[in-house]
Subunit: 425 residues, 2 copies
Amino acid sequence: MDIASYMQTVGQQARAASRVLAAATTDAKNQALSAIASRLRSSKDALLSANAADLAQARDDGLEPALVDRLTLTEKGIEAMAQGLEQIAALPDPVGEITDVKRRPSGIQVGKMRVPLGVIGIIYEARPNVTADAAGLCLKSGNAAILRGGKEAIHSNQAIAACVRAGLGDAGLPDTAVQVIETTDRAVVGQLITLPEYVDVIVPRGGKGLIERISREARVPVIKHLDGNCHVYVHTAADADKAVAIVENAKTQRYGTCNTAESLLIDAAIADAQLPRIGQMLADKGVTLRACAQSLAILRAAGVDPRHLEAAQESDWSEEYLAPIIAVRVVDGLDAAIEHINRYSSGHTESIVSENYTAAMRFLREVDSASVMINASTRFADGFEYGLGAEIGISTDKIHARGPVGLEGLTSQKWIVFGNGEVRR
Amino acid sequence: MDIASYMQTVGQQARAASRVLAAATTDAKNQALSAIASRLRSSKDALLSANAADLAQARDDGLEPALVDRLTLTEKGIEAMAQGLEQIAALPDPVGEITDVKRRPSGIQVGKMRVPLGVIGIIYEARPNVTADAAGLCLKSGNAAILRGGKEAIHSNQAIAACVRAGLGDAGLPDTAVQVIETTDRAVVGQLITLPEYVDVIVPRGGKGLIERISREARVPVIKHLDGNCHVYVHTAADADKAVAIVENAKTQRYGTCNTAESLLIDAAIADAQLPRIGQMLADKGVTLRACAQSLAILRAAGVDPRHLEAAQESDWSEEYLAPIIAVRVVDGLDAAIEHINRYSSGHTESIVSENYTAAMRFLREVDSASVMINASTRFADGFEYGLGAEIGISTDKIHARGPVGLEGLTSQKWIVFGNGEVRR
């Protein structure tokens, strides 16, 4: 296969389909979402057998169990995909929304209209459910999509793609509105990220290495999700019970998610009083504390199991462990905490635990991360928890979309002018 | 000078200053803007003499008159810069604005807070007034700025920079909040656009070649303004008087601006009736019409001076003339007009002239440009006309900011969470 010419065709078809999608009615888009859900349900056997082919290959290739787990489609998983699409159908349509209309001295009325971005390229790992989710979010937001999933899921993705195409057809929309790349050739990625005439934005999902490479080589804008080195900061005026509950939830509810806390900061003034209880709780949960000299001394003196205590290195402040490990550092008050976070954080999510209004509000304003919280677990940084209904990813970029990206993040606003023959003087 | 290490220092200083600026009060920022305005006024002689040095060099180098014109600072121009800064001081501060706060079922309250982007790099041509404007807009929006003006304006820019630094100092803000590059070495640009750790976004202003090069080589996001190939579309249901007035204003009020109309589309059904009057008006103003075969026949038959008529080539549909030339094409109704525009336009600004509600609203929704207008001159696409108070440029990008970019375009929104000890279940 000539990848360059294949991708040219895919790109041209996507651009053409994006014009139709941008003008499509909410009703047509919702019908397509429902139709795709029906097609997934009625194609259950075909989906499971395509997935079985991928799983057999994965086992032959000795894929890690965690990856095999993500790759696996079950009846329950198929039903979840279908329900996910129905949930997207139930969300309000962001496209065409007119806001902020103001009359200007010239007589014109100026406002904004929310519009699709156009063509969205999504590059993701071997998780077949992302194929359905991403198709649904792009469709509802009026965008054409080019989806490139992990090669390990190629059969599953093609089976899902057949359902998507059929569902689009059922609703009278072009079946090129969602194109799932049919080859596992890695050259596709290099092509996809360098087609500014056909692709308006790339959303890469996956490992840090992949995302860094795409950011470096892309010739189109990228909405990227790099790592999540999230902080909980226990301020001098923290409520001790809230501090324990929030650190416990933020660190231990799930270890492998990007909104899991990886660093704990605690004010020197209360470290003696509050750190032992927090440290004991973490150690009891099997978490290893990589602690600065001062916190290490406090934790040791408090009798926390030394098997769960290690001395932190400078590199620990920047680490995304995705594991039962947490970096711990005593800081000298609010300014030091904000400085530490703005220096070492990946800009994902940070939370202060404090009963002091002014300290909490300064933290909220001055911490430069996508989500900043007062007295809440970092685990809330999530499209569903925030009420977006669904998310395509969590952006650690600063322009366009920060944090969880839902339908709105897949659109932009153009200016609209209502005139009555006005000309500029 | 070692450019790489110079730019590292500039970048580090900008990042540090951006933290201070992000937390600065509205009052401090407004004080700085007023102080810079005062410093500009009181440094009038120094500014004029620095500018004289640039002008002498420009004449020696045989610079084009239009460029010399842009480079020239007058007393009036200095007063306009000072007033521009005072106008920016009078605008509402976008930073810290909290919106869309909603209580979620978990108990947390989720909202958004508008925040600065951080460090903004601006690369511009030899127009000294941009130095003051850009400094003012970045300052008010809480961003640190790195400004790299055209080498022909180096003395003028350094003189303005001295006023900016002094004014920042007067208000107790770091004088590194706005850094104007002190060297004309072109390697600066290559460095500035590849420092993602210090620069959050690049705004290039200038020729298409420069902007394309920057977009291609940048390793940080770019808010770019490419060309303005703006269309006026005279629909079947156009009011003939409005059509003439709008085409006249859009094409002839100023020839060199990006929101000037470069293409005229007219429906076949009314071309015989309305094109002659429009063509005559344009020819009377000295505009050359590059017309499709059908419109050329109509214009000739109507007796429009043949010296102002030329046959259009395919390339004319994409051209930004910035001159008394307009491309003219007869189209077969609304769909053909929208298709033509979405194919050939640069995505800047388009206007439909029509009394038909449904046609006008379809045009508004389906034309994929930064500004879409009904019955108004494309010349209105401007930050001041839209009520932004000022603009850093006009974006033809689709993500983040489209069209005129004011203070809001130099900010983004982060998520904020007000909790009371909530944890995720």
